[in-house]
Structure formats: structure tokens, C-alpha cells
């Protein structure tokens, strides 16, 4: 199973985990991204996420397919949040279930690393005194 989703609602971590559980899997690795209160020592007020939704879903699906080709994993879930997020909110949940844990760890890490490079989603950091689109400028 590969499930990808972009949502403007709070991501439900437990529901994500429940979806990848399987009687033939012994190891589940879950990555949860959360909004940190500071970036490079500067206090963050909130983040705003925006997606090119149709293409982002396509790229997320590709990530799931690539991971399933590279490692013996069974279920992959990638959920990404869009909209305005406050400190502690969850922009992303990735859950991977496999018979054995090594594949789950490798695949989960590959997916978040690659998602950050290829999936058309953007985040703007809002500070007390300004805002910046992350990674936009050198």
C-alpha cells in the first residue's frame, strides 16, 4: 500500500500509524516533522505551507514507489499539511512498515530526505520582524 495525502487539517499521527500496520510487518518507522520555535537562533512566529497540490501528490506517490523498489517494505504513508502552522504543529508524517526494521528505517529516511528536495511544497517562515520563503535565495 502507498498512501499520499495533502491536507489543510491537523495530521493524525495515530491514524497514520494504524494505516500502515500489517500482520506480516514487524518493524514500523515513523518520521514526524514538527514546527520548531526557532530557526538559526531566530524566534519563529508561525509557518505557512503552500503546495502545487496535484504535482506534489504525484511526486509523493513516486517517492513511495521508489522506496518500494529499493527496499523490501510493505506499506508507505506520506501525509503533508498545508496552510498556517504554529509552533509544535505537524507539517509531515511518514510511516513505513516492513517485515524487518532495517528496510523501514532506510526507506523512511530516504522518503523525508527526497521529499525535501523534489516535492513542490514551499514554506514561509514568519518572524516578529519579517518573513522569508525557506531556501528561495542563496
Amino acid at each position: 500500500m502507498i498512501e499520499v495525502k495533502i491536507s489543510d487539517k491537523t495530521l493524525d499521527t495515530q491514524a497514520c500509524i494504524d494505516k500502515v500496520l500489517s500482520p506480516s510487518c514487524g518493524g514500523i518507522d515513523v518520521f514526524i516533522g514538527t514546527v520548531r520555535n526557532a530557526t538559526k537562533g531566530k524566534q519563529v512566529v508561525r509557518l505557512e505551507f503552500e503546495a502545487y497540490e496535484r504535482m506534489a501528490l504525484k511526486e509523493m506517490q513516486k517517492l513511495g514507489e521508489q522506496a518500494k523498489k529499493k527496499w523490501p517494505i510493505e506499506n508507505v504513508l506520506i501525509h503533508h499539511r498545508v496552510g498556517v502552522l504554529g509552533i509544535g504543529d505537524i507539517p509531515v508524517v511518514i510511516a513505513v512498515a516492513a517485515a524487518h526494521r532495517d528496510a523501514a528505517f532506510d526507506a523512511c529516511r530516504y522518503i523525508i530526505d527526497t521529499l525535501k528536495e523534489t516535492v513542490p511544497i514551499w514554506k514561509k517562515e514568519i518572524f516578529e520582524d519579517g518573513e522569508v520563503w525557506v531556501a528561495a535565495h542563496p
Binding site: G33, F49, E50, A51, Y52, R54, M55, A56, K58, H80, P91, V92, I112, L115, K116, E117, T118, V119, P120, I121, W122, K123, K124, W133, V134, A135, A136, H137, P138
Partner: protein, 79 residues
């Protein structure tokens, strides 16, 4: 040819809109980039940017038509 271009993230701010129309001389992604950079020179200040044609990253000189969905993809920062 005039094409419609979708914009996201900082590209939307540079264009002042989430969608613009622009005249291009050569009907491919290089022609599009040239036209955009003339009209919106701030695009050249980005770390990089890509063009997507029909939801796929496009290489240099990918042909484009008025039927294609074209989007400017500034550096992504999801996750």
C-alpha cells in the same frame, strides 16, 4: 505564442499573482525562462527554479504548447 504560467511560493510574490500570461518567442521552456526573466528580473536572484510541464519537472528546451499546464517551481522547502 502566449502561455499561462502558474506560480507558487516566492514566484507568486515575484509575479504578483498565482497565474500570469506571457508572450514567448521560442516555444519551449528556455524561451519561457528568457521571457520571464526579462519581465521579472527578480527570478534570477533565486537559488534556482524549475519549470514543470503537466505536473512533471521539465528539462531545458522541453517543447511547450498552449494546452500544457505550465508552472514555475522555485526551490522547494516542504517537510
Amino acid at each position: 505564442m502566449q502561455v499561462k504560467v502558474l506560480a507558487f511560493g516566492i514566484a507568486k510574490e515575484i509575479f504578483g499573482s498565482s497565474s500570469i500570461s506571457i508572450d514567448i518567442e521560442s516555444n519551449d521552456t528556455d524561451g519561457l525562462k528568457n521571457a520571464l526573466e526579462v519581465k521579472y528580473p527578480k527570478l534570477k536572484e533565486l537559488s534556482s527554479y524549475m519549470v514543470a510541464v503537466n505536473d512533471e519537472y521539465a528539462n531545458d528546451k522541453t517543447p511547450i504548447t498552449q494546452q500544457d499546464e505550465i508552472a514555475i517551481i522555485p526551490p522547494v522547502s516542504g517537510g
